[in-house]
Symmetry: C4
């Protein structure tokens, strides 16, 4: 309509040319007027098809029963060729609407990528997370549809595995967890010097071999009894759980169940060895002791049974799983920095003559690994530290670099935990507010 | 209206079918056209009822005097079945509008949960917080409506308890706080070696018992006088406060008042014991000394009287209360990690033979508790540190794990403090700007 | 219009009653229809007045030439009585519009306070900050309007004080800063053992007094010369700057100039004392040495001359000034925690008998102050650490508490710096993009 | 239209005066009515021109086919003279629209600067970053357009340089990286005491000079062989890469290639020196040993070849490049604080008499540099710590200051990494979702 002289000079088009064909599209109560030509340009989209049809038989106005906010962005795309998404509308809605208008999500401009994909990403991560949170509910429902032995099995299984299901289940879970705590406490205090005596035991290993006198650790009786009681309980529990597990394969694939089984082994191995003669011969051998020791340590991981009762721990485990890639990144960065700084400190702190090689803490590069990790995490035990001017510079760089490394990567890692935590709290919140859910 | 051929092929409906019944709803100046059928689908909502009525006797257009922004989301819900909330409108408004349209808040999609519930959550937390901030004002008003002895009592109570109420009250509060500081300072410097002498005191405990010579700590006279003066003042203050407290039960439930009372006890106990013979016999007994010692320490908590004058401390106390759940989470995570790492370091650093058991720092698991906490908080005193290659690996993991643990959980914890702090500042800001409040 | 039966049952009003008087207000192209009664309710507002007038002589529609986004919130306020502000509009616009509609900003709901006031607050802080950034420009302009001696004075002052003004000014500033660096470097390396010799100087102080032999530090000659050269330059610079300063009062109020003057004193004091007999007598007196020492140290603060060249340092200084309240808060929290933990560790680590008092690191409460600060900042030198089980618990709590304290308060403090930094960068960005500014 | 009495009293204009000339502008379906006079005020803008033309020959309504969201801000600017930008629209769109309406971006109010420029800034940083990410693709395409020797060269170059291009290329890259790891591992374990023997080698340097017996380090044979094998492989690889590099200049400008070349030197230098007599004479000289040592260390930087395989490392390197200014800032702040605190601690911890100068850790200012860095990064080795009350105060301030300094500057630095990381992930996300890209 209106073309001022300077408009014509600088060549930028003013408002819409009255002679060009326009099309009126009304979405969510707002009328949009746009040139037919700019619609036809973007082939494959819904509005392009509409425009083509419009040329054949025109109509006054087209109504679409869609989201008006996203349509503003769509219109802007037709006009300018750049697809920017609105920041006040949930990315999931944007995706739905773009799909409806047959506009490819990959056309979104880079400046709007993060906003758009963070929603999509969040939605995916959260749907995985939510699924695991309601898994119990789902299995519960599936179970209720069965009958006969299956029904009994499932009813008992629910008591064994779903503390929130009934009072009995809760009582069982609490009892079980008290045994876990007792077992772990016993394991920890067993190592206190007042809890054991060292006695010299003389034994003969096999006929024709000479007697050996070996100092042996004898724990206080009450600890031994505690161990026997706990092991009996855990054995019984495990057997019952195996018996009533609806899906045996899934049961043995669960890492917690594997831990439970392995944690039971050391006492049984010891009993078997004690009963047979071979034990006295093997007991002193490092490999056997080592294996039993490791198996004994496994019981400490039973503490993760707490997950059943404490949702925050569950969230943490999920967050760690979801952030695996980012955690690996932090590790790799730490390793690279460790390699660089331990080489540099080795160079900076090396003695002038090779014969003086033991005068420094940093006589080998691998010993610098420990120093650089301790420095970069800013723990700084002080067992090793540089002593030369060049070493001071490397040390200062290492400390600053560690601080930077953590500062750069940790926000990326901690995102998932905060996301899961606020999500889980929101869920509680909304469920509490709207009990109809 | 317009149905292009490909629309019919892929089965996605184009714009609204001209033959289907539409309804026009105008909210906040924007007209929305929607199919009657999609309204009727969502039973129980206000618009469903409207649509049913519309079928009986139709009207051209329905006006609703509601928020147009939220109505866009409501329309989108009717169209698509997914309820996403707009991100640029306060969650409280969204809640109000959803309530009006009789749409269940639990229908909100997970991707929009956090945005929605964070507002609701924030509103609740802040209303608790604001209530405590204006509690003084409320009690003030209630008090002014009384008369007689009650009025006198309240008038004096306001002087004693509300520093901001009058100049006299402020003067009293400052005096009181100066005494608190003097008492705490005296308590602290009393422990300096130049502040006391150790004398051997010989005493006889009861007839027929032998004399004992016990080294006794004698503080400098001025400290003893300071103690007497402060105790006298606090006793007087406490008596006056008890006398004029409008609600005696509430008074004794207040933790600060309990601290005040307990902090007064040690001097009186000592005086009573000094006056009776039993003291000389008891004084040397560990239990009595211990109890007096603990009571003496309680006075240090009088520093929290600062809360009356310093709002930031009040905010901190509230934030800690509100974040109790998150703080517990941090503690539990630290305890679990402590348990794991102290077991692992015990295993990694254990001597080859049990007879060599005292050669390592980590001879017991509980001693590893201290090490793992010191490492995970990155304090790293250096009193204990691993010395074997496997120990280095465990130590490095422990340090990194500690850094991660803090990084993951602290943002979740610190939210409340930042929220309260900015809220309290905003309040000051707005009150200052608009003094009419 | 439409009242479904259930509407009447639950008592919530449906859409607008056709008989009630409505008013149509059009703002920014969007028509809003609202009941006259709900406008009249909020007395004192612009629309209340309009409604009153409307009753006298009605019109079809009222046009207002205002922001449509904020008007949605205003309409919502009239409808619901709650004032929530839109989150996608700058707080300054909201404030302007609310002022126009004569709605008190204090009516905003608490959930929207932070969003609204953060903008207002930001605007204020930034306007102070921007003012200081363009102060130079303003003084420059003011100066150019003068003439005669004033003009000469200002022209030279600009060379002395505004490095970015001309090439000469930049050259002068760089020269000056090189002297600052030389002076500081000299001061630092002067303390290296290879840089000085200690000689025994015998002198007699006043007649009738005995000779004293005192070890005296003699620096290497080149350091003495460097000191003389730098002091000469700084003296000359200071004299010239004083001479050409347009505002003498402001000149001496500037902390940097005071530092410059004080930093010059030690050499002159020394020369004067060397020349007079009194020096030899005074030189050895602690008070004189102390004073000269402190004055010598002041020169290190000349490093802040870097502010002239390095904008980030200027931003930091401003951020610290603006965050004074928050920094005080951090300090007070640290002091309170320090007091508590040093008392607790004193109690936890105290010897069983008072005669054993020197066996622990924590024999006094003040010595615990240092330990608790070192622990709470997670530095952990390892010069002091607990050794009893109870001490371990206190130490662990202290470390965790320190980590928490920092985590809670630091985000609040660091806000201002990030705000200033991004603001200063944005300014550069926008100025670069749009050089017309 | 409506002028209530009080409107006239307080002088604020009510709604639009019916007699003043209005103009109707319709953008994106929303009609805006505005006074012609307020358009004409802002000269140079598109709407000013329109208004001038409108005066000459008026029209009922003007349609503009532009973004309606930004136009609200534009209208607001004409009405109020303040240009605030909407927060829910991408800054790039705002920029485009402002350019269209011929409104200078520098007119944006300071409160909206950061929001606006952060988008512009982000867009620029990301476009640089994206360019480097797709550089490979571009060169690939360019290469495919060549022929003859060039084509062969490029085909082989792609195998050598683009691991993601083909299976062969990936195999080659992995092989190469395994050699890098082998070389670095060899280099590290070479320093372990069990990996070498020190032998006394007697040699004569030149005729007429006396024999020297020098202890020489002899590595285990397998390490020497590993070194030979790796060096051979790297030499071959380098030669092939030089041969087939399409752009020799660019090849030698690449820092990774320079590292590769330098890392090869030490072995060749050693072989050459071993073959000639001069070596035995030179070998013992510090300068030669030093040079070979430094060259040997360079090989550790080959670890950055990992960048080819691991995108996160690439992102980190880019983030560090982009944050160069911020990293410099952190460094400068650390240096200034280091200077201040080392001077203060030197003063605080200095001995009373100069003759007692060696009794303290802090006898020189430069030795305080190390202490202050170790304290400010909260590493706190404990090799140096203050021991006087004043020193405790300086130490506490230094620790708190360090914590603050990191807290203030790190969020500014870490922004870029988080931006790049989420951007790169978004890209993957979107590419995966929409494979059509
Ligand atoms: K440390
Ligand atoms: K530390």
């Amino acid at each position: 309509m209106a073309d001022s002289p300077e408009e014509e000079i600088d060549g930028t088009p003013g408002d819409i040319d009255p002679d060009e064909e326009k099309i009126v599209i009304s979405v969510g109560g707002i009328r949009h007027e746009i040139l037919v030509s700019s619609l036809i340009e973007r082939t494959g989209t819904r509005l392009c098809n509409l425009a083509k049809k419009h040329v054949r038989g025109r109509k006054e106005e087209y109504f679409f029963n869609r989201h008006p906010g996203v349509f503003s962005s769509v219109m802007d795309y037709y006009r300018s060729g750049e697809l920017h998404v609105p920041l006040d509308i949930c990315g999931a809605v944007v995706k739905r609407e773009l799909d409806y208008w047959r506009i490819d999500g990959a056309l979104i401009e880079p400046c709007c990528w993060t906003n758009y994909s963070s929603y999509i990403n969040k939605q995916k991560t959260l749907s995985d997370f939510s699924k695991s949170m309601i898994e119990e509910k789902t299995t519960l429902r599936e179970m209720q549809n069965s009958s006969g032995w299956k029904k009994v099995q499932l009813r008992i299984w629910m008591v064994l595995d779903l503390p929130s299901h009934s009072r009995l289940a809760m009582a069982f879970a609490v009892t079980s967890f008290i045994f876990v705590l007792a077992s772990i406490t016993g394991f920890c205090i067993e190592t206190l010097p007042i809890m054991f005596t060292v006695e010299n035991v003389t034994r003969q290993c096999g006929p024709g071999q000479r007697n050996e006198t070996v100092p042996t650790v004898i724990s206080l009786p009450f600890l031994t009894y505690l161990d026997y009681i706990c092991t009996s309980f855990f054995t019984a529990e495990l057997l019952v759980r195996v018996l009533f597990a609806p899906n045996k394969l899934k049961f043995f694939q669960n890492i917690m169940n594997v831990i439970d089984i392995l944690a039971l082994l050391p006492l049984y191995v010891q009993i078997i060895l004690d009963l047979t003669d071979t034990y006295n011969c093997l007991k002193n051998r490092r490999a056997v002791l080592e294996t039993i020791f490791i198996l004994r340590i496994i019981r400490i991981f039973r503490i993760f049974h707490l997950m059943k009762h404490y949702k925050a721990l569950k969230i943490m485990v999920h967050a760690i799983k979801a952030s695996f890639q980012e955690l690996m990144m932090l590790m790799i960065f730490l390793l690279i920095a460790m390699l660089l700084f331990s080489t540099l400190i080795f160079y900076a702190e090396r003695p002038i003559e090779y014969s003086m090689i033991t005068s420094s803490h940093f006589e080998t590069i691998p010993s610098g690994f420990w120093w650089s990790i301790v420095t970069m995490t800013t723990v700084g035990y002080g067992d090793m530290y540089p002593k030369t001017p060049l070493g001071y510079v490397v040390g200062a760089l290492c400390a600053v670099c560690g601080v930077m490394l953590e500062a750069l990567t940790i926000p990326v890692v901690s995102n998932n935990f905060a996301l899961f935590y606020t999500h889980a709290r929101s869920r509680e919140q909304i469920t509490k507010e709207c009990p109809s859910e």
